[in-house]
């Protein structure tokens, strides 16, 4: 149940997938709206929250990677070869983006010379020297990575929905929380 099996993702992998999905999307939208803060102090507090959520994503990503290394994913779904390659490419890029978004934020924060405090609990060091000239570039990299993530998500979500609605198979179900596989016998006999 906790671990993946041949047919479906285990509870731990599902937890990582959906928690990271919610946090990174919510935090991305939150990040785009930071300028709506009604006062400098509110923006400071929103920023601190945005950074803390981003660091949480990064920590979850590291744990997810470790978990995956010790726990093989389910078998790839039977599909044309190009679709399997496309799926691998999209998954690979998504993994990279899940790491790159918080890391680019950390980089931006560092060149800006801001402190980095995790939910007011402890501070983390910068990962680059303060450098006002890189401030704008770092901010744009951070923001455009999120737009790129949304673009890749169109492919990821689109493919999942195509499998679910058009093909009526278990590709989405095997990652969906608490879902039963529709065609359980298909895998059992394999």
């Amino acid at each position: 149940m906790l671990r993946n099996d041949e047919l479906r993702w285990g509870a731990v992998a599902k937890f990582f997938h959906w928690t990271i999905a919610l946090l990174i999307l919510g935090n991305g939208v939150f990040g785009l709206l930071l300028d709506l803060a009604s006062s400098p102090m509110q923006k400071i507090n929103w920023m601190a929250l945005h950074k803390s959520i981003g660091l949480t994503v990064l920590a979850l990503f590291v744990l997810r990677l470790l978990w995956r290394l010790g726990n093989r994913p389910p078998r790839e779904w039977p599909a044309p070869r190009w679709q399997q390659w496309a799926a691998r490419a999209v998954h690979g890029v998504l993994y990279l983006l899940v790491a790159a978004l918080p890391l680019s934020g950390w980089w931006f924060n560092s060149v800006r010379g801001y402190p980095l405090q995790y939910f007011k609990l402890f501070n983390l060091p910068g990962i680059a020297a303060k450098n006002p000239e890189l401030r704008r570039l770092a901010h744009e990299v951070h923001e455009y990575l999120f737009w790129f993530l949304l673009l890749v998500l169109v492919a990821h979500v689109g493919a999942a929905l195509k499998h679910h609605v058009v093909d009526d198979d278990d590709v989405l179900r095997r990652m969906w929380p608490f879902a039963r596989l529709r065609h359980g016998s298909k895998g059992d006999s394999a």
Binding site: S39, M41, I44, N45, Q117, K120, N123
Partner: protein, 189 residues
């Protein structure tokens, strides 16, 4: 008659004797070698600031503490913390309110000896429209040739003075404790 003359002369004699008996030295501060600053915390990270414009009248002698006196004025528009946003905010109404209160003022009342090397200066700091007692630890190091080094440090609560009130009063974001420090290079006047 002799007694009467002595009685009249006594205050005069005392006046003549005083400068000799308690002669702390009046120093001038070598501004280009001296610093006056502070340290505070923002989001759990310390930051340092310094003032570019200030004036300190220092009269001091560790052997004649009764005659010692500091009188320091600081231009509150001149803070530099190495961050443009912060330096822009500090003179504003929420912090130093420098338009209304362009000067901070520290003056000593008396001094006590802490140990062989250190002395405590007791005094009051006026910042914005607040005046509160502030003790400073003073380390005085005479140098060859009559000059001296003086290192001064003390801690105040920024909210006592209303620095960063309102929204900025949240001490989990901006720490309440602020360390003030000075390194003075002194030459006798």
């Amino acid at each position: 008659m002799t007694r009467l003359a002595l009685g009249r002369l006594a205050p005069l004699l005392l006046c003549l004797a005083l400068p000799v008996a308690a002669s702390a030295t009046d120093y001038r501060v070598l501004q280009d070698q001296s610093t006056l600053g502070f340290a505070a915390t923002f989001q759990g990270a310390p930051f340092q600031g310094s003032f570019a414009q200030w004036h300190a009248a220092i009269r001091f002698d560790p052997a004649h503490l009764a005659d010692a006196r500091f009188d320091v004025s600081v231009d509150t528009t001149s803070a530099d913390t190495g961050d443009a946003d912060r330096d822009g905010a500090l003179p504003g109404a929420d912090f130093f309110n420098a338009t209304k209160y362009p000067q901070a003022h520290y003056v000593t009342s008396d001094f006590t000896r802490l140990d062989d090397a250190r002395v405590i200066a007791h005094g009051t700091l006026t910042l914005r429209d607040e005046t509160h007692p502030l003790d400073l630890t003073v380390t005085f190091t005479p140098q060859p040739g009559g000059t001296a080094l003086m290192d001064v440090a003390g801690t105040l609560k920024r909210l006592d003075y209303g620095v960063g009130g309102g929204e900025y009063a949240d001490t989990s974001v901006i720490g309440n404790d602020v360390t003030v420090n000075a390194h003075l290079v002194l030459a006798p006047k």
